[in-house]
Symmetry: C2
Subunit: 242 residues, 2 copies
DNA sequence: GCAAAAGTGTTGTGTCTACACCCATGT
DNA sequence: ACATGGGTGTAGACACAACACTTTTGC
């Protein structure tokens, strides 16, 4: 076991030509806050294996496309991809037993859609609360939970909230989004102060009129950037001398 | 574009059978602190493409093995895999142009080895400081830097330091390891207090005799766990009422 | 005693939590 | 006036950074 391996050197490429190759699919955990709950977009399988179980949208990788292009193409069959506010790679699953009868790798992505948009979806497709998932096909259950964990972590140390929120919103609305995604109560007061101090949010100056029950009109805010930025890079072990 | 796609449903599997498939390699960014610097294990390509350039160890995925098993198998040709203290998946690269003349996907792993061990490596293989990398083949440059960033981030909010450190060590030794990995000075005093308060480190009770220059003997410490644990889960947005 | 290295005491600062209180609107 | 919801003031807890100082050794 001491001969150097040579990925993609000519001799290896030659052997790769005759080599058995896996199929490769891309999958997406598409999350959106709907009805105050974090929900995932799933479609129901009609055929074996896992007939009747729900599955993540996705499909086979095609030549000349990247993984990201692939998942965007497959998602286009389920939702209007332009409504996705964020897309990032999660992980690649490779258990040879993950799909019966086929050696299939799967690269999962996390997609996020802002609250409010309600894309048309096909007959077999529906949103499901992530904390009450139905029976999922293959390894799609753990993948979905990994997507939620990624979202929760990044809400804490990045500006990823922009991907769940509309362009303009009140702090109370944003608090509800964070609470739905994080799975616990979030303080309006502190959320506002943390995000404004970090300069993640900025006031638009506009106000929203109160409802029929009255109340002080709420100020409107927006995210300063709608690109992912790390806002709290190091929890500890900061470089000295700031 | 509204027909539901069906990954791995029978009809899709049938079409998958005749479908063009990519090759798939696994790569590893193996990092170790050597000579006070963070270094990566690379081998020098003898043949085109990228003859003379340096590359990450790895090779083709074989049927019935997982990605992790694959990278462990290929690494065994370079180093004693039992000396790896940590291995985790980084990302999967899919640019169709990333390897000339071949449609090849690559799943990269991050591997870490504790300071002090010095595995025998083949002729064509050597360690290179990550902050002064030679010309790297393919997309191995950005992959290597992504590995370093993953390490730096996790040193801050997990106990991943265990993977760089020997079983027992003084705080001064650990400080040098963190400084090499993070790329900036680290305070001995504060490193000790942070890691002990978080109960990441524990004193062994033993002491290390000072060198010929004298000095107070140093206490020895160990990591309480040598499995990855998140020790500072949420930088902000903690759940209420702790 | 003196130099060297390790470790602790202490103070300051920045960030977040909690909660009280004030503000602006509808009825 | 009062209810309703929005926003601010302020105090406290906590964790970390910085630095002075003490401890323990070799020479």
């Amino acid at each position: 076991m001491r001969e150097p391996t040579s990925p993609s050197a000519p001799e290896a490429r030659a052997s790769a030509a005759g080599r058995e190759r896996p199929t490769h699919v891309t999958l997406a955990v598409v999350l959106q806050v709907r009805g105050g709950r974090l929900q995932a977009l799933l479609w129901q399988r009609a055929r074996e294996p896992y007939a009747g179980a729900w599955a993540l949208p996705g499909g086979y990788l095609e030549p000349t496309e990247t993984l990201e292009a692939s998942i965007r193409r497959h998602l286009a069959a389920k939702v209007d991809v332009r409504e996705l506010s964020h897309l990032e790679q999660l992980e690649t699953r490779s258990d040879p037993e993950r799909v019966p009868g086929e050696w299939q790798l799967a690269t999962a992505y996390l997609g996020l859609a802002p609250v409010g948009v309600d894309p048309a979806v096909p007959e077999d497709t529906a949103w499901h609360p992530v904390d009450r998932l139905p029976r999922l096909a293959f390894d799609h259950g753990p993948i979905t939970l990994a997507g939620r964990e990624r979202l929760r972590a990044k809400l804490s140390y990045t500006n990823l909230g922009f991907a769940l929120a509309p362009d303009e919103f009140t702090i109370a609305q944003l608090r509800d989004l964070y609470a739905a995604a994080m799975g616990h109560h979030v303080s309006t007061t502190n959320l506002q102060r943390v995000l404004v101090r970090r300069r993640v949010l900025e006031a638009t100056g506009a106000r929203r009129d109160p409802g029929p029950a009255g109340g002080r009109p709420a100020g409107l805010f927006r995210f300063r950037s709608r690109e992912l930025e790390v806002t709290d890079p190091f929890a500890v072990l900061r470089p000295p001398g700031r």
